[in-house]
């Protein structure tokens, strides 16, 4: 079942084409990545989805034109965007607070998730007292607890060091298997996209269009060292080749 569907979405800023032609879909309980070079306009796509910007083309959610943006998406920005002045507990309830959930009820809803997110005992800490990985998990907790239809993750591990990033990717894959969120991830990390996704849309450099849609047939749980690792490696090489040797664009081969 398709939840999100974009058809020929375009966006220009002051005459500069950022998104040339984006058509994609995300099914229920599917983890989809958008992979593209830096500055390709990936984040612009999220701005269109959350309603911060308006573009051309059609966007549908559950078959209906997308109008009430806030209702469908829970957005996790590039940096964790935790508020330094709020304790972790109050940071994670922020989305519920904006939705108008009473403080006590909101706290009860997040409290049960702290252990699962590896944050038990840190409820009363300020963000500055946490490590980068913990901050990202707190940011993800704040995102998922909103219980929207779909998660939008904008390079959530981009600011982490390589080791923490690898640990977070494994952790996220494991969490996703338990919860089966419908998720759209923006990344420029090929390995991250292959490791986490069911499908990958590869974007061209700006102006961005979808140059390839790739299904990732690897079994879950994903194992970075197991038998499927070789298959993953081949897939990564193939994607890297598409990104590094872009074919000149030759019109639409849509449908």
């Amino acid at each position: 079942m398709r939840r999100l569907e974009l058809r020929h979405v375009r966006k220009a800023f002051d005459g500069l084409d950022v998104l040339a032609d984006i058509s994609l879909s995300v099914g229920a309980g599917e983890f989809v990545s958008i992979l593209g070079p830096s500055g390709a306009g990936k984040s612009t796509l999220f701005q269109l989805l959350t309603g911060a910007e308006h573009g051309e083309g059609e966007m549908f959610f559950d078959g209906a034109p997308l109008d009430d943006h806030g209702r469908h998406f829970a957005f996790m920005p590039q940096r964790d965007a935790l508020m330094p002045w709020r304790r972790i507990l109050d940071n994670t309830t922020l989305g519920l607070e904006v939705q108008g959930v009473k403080r006590k009820a909101a706290r009860a809803r997040v409290a049960s998730l702290f252990a699962e997110f590896g944050l038990a005992g840190f409820e009363r800490h300020f963000p500055a007292q946490l490590s980068g990985g913990m901050r990202q998990r707190a940011a993800l907790l704040r995102t998922v607890v909103q219980e929207r239809d779909m998660l939008l993750l904008d390079e959530p591990f981009g600011a982490l060091d390589a080791l923490t990033r690898a640990a977070m990717q494994r952790w996220l894959e494991q969490m996703w298997r338990h919860h089966r969120w419908t998720a759209l991830l923006i990344t420029h990390d090929v390995r991250e996209a292959v490791f986490l996704s069911d499908r990958i849309y590869v974007l061209s450099a700006r102006p961005a269009r979808v140059v390839r849609e790739i299904r990732v047939p690897l079994p879950r749980p994903r194992d970075p060292a197991g038998a499927a690792a070789q298959q993953a490696g081949a897939l990564e090489a193939e994607i890297l080749d598409i990104l590094l040797n872009p074919q000149p664009f030759k019109g639409h081969d849509h449908d």
Partner: protein, 272 residues
């Protein structure tokens, strides 16, 4: 994952130890002054020794306190007005950006007015009461705080704003939840600058004309060739400023507990 444990707050003795260099330098300065005034043969009506200033301050303490009270009152009332005005206008400017272009030039011009010229005029227009003092204190303290607040709102992390809007928050909610707290460090920086101007502003206003106050006390002492009493009053006003400054630092600590929490993590590696 690294485990972060709360670090015990810095003991009081460490804070006192940090004050030692300041105490020594001030002490040396006083000693040098004392020696010069005693042995150079300079007349006490030109440069009184610190011991004489202190002695006269004690003898005249009732008069000093009596005159400090109106100054404190003018400072606090003026500062409160200034704070309220800066806060209200900063919000106006934040919500309606064109207001900034309309208002800021006026405020900048207000900062170029020489107090020496303005103070007597304000007293001439509004009399010897509290009103002109409040106005002058507000005039000198208002702008630094307004600028600090407006800058502080704009320092809000872009991603926090994006995220809140994606959550469905309106402008007012974004202001209260994100922009206002983001401005706090800037606000306190502005407050610290303003508070040091505030007492000086009040004294200037009194100098231009008042029934009572440290400013008029200084003027009278000077006219009576009593530099010791002028300096005693200066000492009182300096103490007043330091106390107010200390209060803002204390207030900041209370209002921004996360700042110290962050330092604790950042300062986990012991510095020798």
């Amino acid at each position: 994952m690294p485990v972060v444990s709360p670090v015990a707050p810095r003991p009081l003795s460490a804070s006192l130890a940090k004050a030692v260099p300041a105490i020594i330098s001030v002490g040396l300065l006083a000693v040098a002054w004392q020696l010069y005034a005693t042995y150079s043969g300079i007349k006490p009506t030109i440069l009184p020794a610190p011991s004489r200033v202190l002695e006269q301050a004690m003898l005249n303490r009732d008069a000093l306190i009596d005159n400090a009270v109106p100054t404190i009152r003018a400072t606090l009332a003026g500062f409160a007005c200034s704070l309220a005005a800066a806060f209200a206008l900063s919000m106006l400017v934040d919500f309606f950006q064109p207001m900034r272009r309309a208002l800021f030039p006026v405020f900048i011009v207000s900062q170029t007015l020489p107090l020496v010229a303005i103070a007597p005029l304000v007293v001439l227009w509004f009399g010897f009461g509290l009103a002109p003092k409040i106005m002058l204190v507000a005039l000198v303290t208002f702008f630094p705080m307004l600028v600090a607040l407006v800058q502080g709102y704009e320092a809000t992390e872009v991603e926090i704003g994006q995220m809140l809007r994606a959550m469905g928050a309106g402008r007012w909610r974004v202001f209260v939840v994100a922009r206002l707290p983001s401005a706090l460090p800037y606000f306190f920086a502005g407050l610290r600058i303003s508070i040091t101007y505030a007492v000086v502003g009040a004294i200037f206003a009194e100098y231009a004309g008042a029934a009572k106050g440290l400013g008029i006390y200084m003027l009278n002492a000077k006219n009576n060739f009593r530099p010791d009493l002028v300096l005693a009053a200066v000492g009182v006003s300096a103490t007043l400023t330091l106390v107010l400054f200390g209060l803002t630092v204390l207030l900041q600590r209370l209002a921004m507990p996360w700042e110290r929490a962050g330092q604790q993590r950042a300062g986990k590696v012991p510095r020798q």
